[in-house]
């Protein structure tokens, strides 16, 4: 068991998982909210754009998006996200950021749908009241709709966060040193430790995701708009 921590760097791998999760969650929320606003907007073409984004992204495997970002965006099109003398190394930084890019773009579609499902919890009267006191679309969105939508969307947003945490393992496909890579290295170089590695990694994810699930339930109760 010691070997998995010392030689294969399991703790560092989980730290990578956490970093990937936090950064991707941040960007996915920003992109997802923007797309949700587009989908709710009164402008037909923006609605279409938002809907197209969600349809395209949600029907593509994250694995493909991840590999595409490394091989095609970085490799072929020369997208550079890190400076050559980045601390921790150019390639490690570049791969990390590409992984965050792929994870954010993918999960933004789910954040968008979660927010829309939150909007669906808001009774008609709220928007009618907002309009009747003369709020514009953006005002009613900002003051009335989105705050309630986020509170109504706590559960699906929490679930998206849990899914995102687990999906960070896919970053192994482009060589980011996280848990799936540890799993593979153990399997290839020290197969006797396969069960131990699986147990430890599974445990690690349980430790990461169970509090998220509990927090989601708690917040969903706490923030629920009482009606």
């Amino acid at each position: 068991m010691q070997t998995i921590f010392e030689q294969f760097g399991l703790l560092a791998a989980f730290w990578m998982t956490i970093k990937l999760t936090l950064w991707s969650a941040l960007f996915a929320t920003v992109i997802g909210t923007l797309v949700a606003i587009m989908r709710l907007s009164p402008v037909g073409i923006l609605r279409q754009l938002g809907a197209t984004y969600v349809t395209l992204v949600r029907n593509t495997p994250l694995t493909l998006i991840m590999i595409f970002s490394s091989i095609a965006l970085s490799g072929v099109l020369g997208l550079v996200l890190a400076s050559r003398d980045a601390p921790g190394g150019y390639i490690a930084t570049q791969n990390f950021r590409l992984a965050v890019l792929a994870l954010s773009v993918y999960h933004a579609a789910f954040v968008c749908e979660a927010i829309r499902s939150g909007v669906n919890t808001i009774p008609l009267g709220q928007a009618e009241a907002a309009r009747s006191i003369g709020l514009t679309f953006s005002q009613s969105l900002r003051e009335i709709i989105l705050p309630q939508a986020f509170r109504g969307a706590v559960t699906p947003l929490g679930n998206t966060l849990i899914a995102l945490t687990k999906n960070t393992t896919i970053a192994a496909a482009i060589g980011v040193a996280e848990t799936a890579l540890v799993m593979r290295n153990v399997a290839e170089f020290d197969p006797g430790l396969l069960w131990t590695a699986f147990g430890l990694i599974a445990l690690g994810f349980v430790i990461l995701t169970v509090p998220m699930g509990l927090a989601t339930s708690f917040l969903a109760h706490r923030l629920a708009v009482k009606r």
Binding site: N120, P123, I162, A180, A187, S217
Partner: protein, 322 residues
């Protein structure tokens, strides 16, 4: 896209002008982005006909893309069938009166829903390779299917259980009052209704499975993503190969998504859903139909455990039932 959107008024002349402006801005932004991508492609020589022409060669399809697509569909088909069978057993066990069975099923469901599919796939694959139980080169397929089944059976078991829980309590009471045992009531009355209500969810779960099957690229299963990689290196056009693969995934999954929507709307028309189907925009803001089923399943299916949680339940139904 619902027309009955109440977020904004029927626009007046100034609003219409503003919307037109926004539409133009949106369109320009889109065109700008496309132009930028094309220029970038051009600058890197990625628009050269030679890098794309292989797409229309029959050999590319015959030896790479179609076998890849077929392998993806094969893994998906096996996984959904096995998952469903296992899910039924798990759901029944989890609702059973036998404590040990209930505990075991709960443990299974909670554990495998929490572990990333890729980790399970890698583990299953290397475990099978190590044991050498299976003949020839079936290990990648078996590893992929095992990973997919462990996760999806846990998720689907919760969907079944949730469907049962959301049935009107009169259903169960009626069953018990005509002298059926609790387990008979579940088997004959409750679970069948839950199953018919979860059909759309089941169909959209196929999309989740097909997408997750791409993870098998890491265990060398020759599915579509790997086939794209192979044809990309054979033709020296990796970017183009992945674009083509993405289009294939989107076409297949979008078709399935439409089927799921069609099944759902048909069930709603027939009024057969006893409560499990996601209803969208009745009485709330018309944000359009949210494919709730898929949102929830992609998101680890945790929604379905919060049975006591009326808020989230209504959030996902889109109706305040209480």
């Amino acid at each position: 896209m619902t027309a009955a959107n109440v977020l904004f008024d029927a626009p007046g002349p100034r609003a219409r002008a503003r919307h037109r402006m926004l539409a133009i801005v949106g369109l320009l932004a889109l065109l700008g982005a496309l132009a930028w991508v094309l220029m970038r492609f051009q600058a890197k020589g990625q628009l050269e006909p030679a890098l794309w022409s292989w797409v229309v060669q029959p050999d590319s399809w015959r030896y790479y893309l179609l076998p890849g697509l077929l392998a993806t569909l094969q893994a998906g088909a096996i996984a959904i069938v096995v998952s469903m069978v296992l899910a039924l057993a798990l759901a029944m066990s989890r609702m059973s009166e036998i404590t040990v069975l209930r505990w075991a099923a709960t443990l299974f469901v909670e554990f495998f829903r929490g572990v990333p599919v890729l980790i399970m796939m890698l583990f299953a694959f290397y475990f099978l390779v190590d044991r050498g139980w299976l003949p020839d080169s079936t290990n990648p397929l078996a590893g992929a299917v095992t990973g997919l089944v462990l996760y999806n059976s846990a998720v689907l078991a919760e969907v079944i259980r949730n469907g049962v829980a959301s049935l009107p309590s009169g259903q169960r009471e009626a069953g018990l009052s005509i002298g059926l045992s609790p387990s008979q009531t579940r088997r004959i009355i409750l679970v069948p209704q839950s199953l018919s209500a979860m059909l759309p969810t089941l169909v959209s779960q196929v999309i989740v499975i097909l997408k997750d099957s791409a993870l098998a690229v890491m265990i060398l299963y020759p599915e579509l993503t790997r086939a794209a990689g192979d044809v990309g290196s054979a033709k020296g056009a990796p970017l183009q190969a992945y674009v083509v693969a993405a289009v294939l995934y989107i076409v297949v999954n979008y078709t399935i998504q439409r089927i799921a929507q069609w099944v759902e709307s048909r069930q709603r028309r027939r009024g057969r859903s006893a409560g499990g189907v996601v209803h969208a925009d009745t009485g709330t803001l018309g944000a359009g139909t949210v494919d709730g089923a898929q949102v929830m399943e992609d998101a680890a299916g945790h929604v379905h455990t919060n049975l006591e949680d009326d808020v989230s339940r209504s959030a996902h139904r889109g109706i305040g039932r209480d």
